[in-house]
Symmetry: C2
Subunit: 116 residues, 2 copies
Amino acid sequence: MINFHPTGNCPIRDVLSRLGDKWSMLVLITLNANGTMRFSDIHKSIEDVSQRMLTVTLRTLEADGLVERKIYAEVPPRVEYHLTEVGRSLIPHIEALVGWALDNMTVILENRKVNQ
Amino acid sequence: MINFHPTGNCPIRDVLSRLGDKWSMLVLITLNANGTMRFSDIHKSIEDVSQRMLTVTLRTLEADGLVERKIYAEVPPRVEYHLTEVGRSLIPHIEALVGWALDNMTVILENRKVNQ
């Protein structure tokens, strides 16, 4: 039997926890689709994320090295975000999940109706 | 610019929200690895999930048609869970994510140290 241990350095659990936040996936998809973006553009693109949650999500992705933040010394300072190489390498897997969702959504929605 | 609309029937957002729950992914992986399992075995396998959270997760996966629950009329009643065909079709994508995690975890952990 496979066990997922609550403590220790388990990469499976670790990545699932981080990606197990829908905002992370949405930010990665948005940045991949649009290239370099300002905070306000990301916020406009993912309408219902709060400013605070988007800030936290971007900081986490930046700390993990999936997203890079660039600050331009202008007045007011311009801050832009883009995917790193590691971030881009995750995109095909997220797209595969999205493709699976598109293929199976009809069945899943039907199941929900029956099981309600 | 791609927009993820907060309302309406968006399958991308929908699947990311559902999968954007690490317990769902862990339950699916566990059931795939072990086949048919009782509630208590799933709980033992994913040690730090609460009984309530595991119940909710299994109900959601069942409502979506990814997991099937079978009740055997014994005393006490035996309840077993296994993946449906739709549930199994999601496994390769989750495994791809896990593979990506294993390939990139060293880099990500290094990034976190530098960015702390």
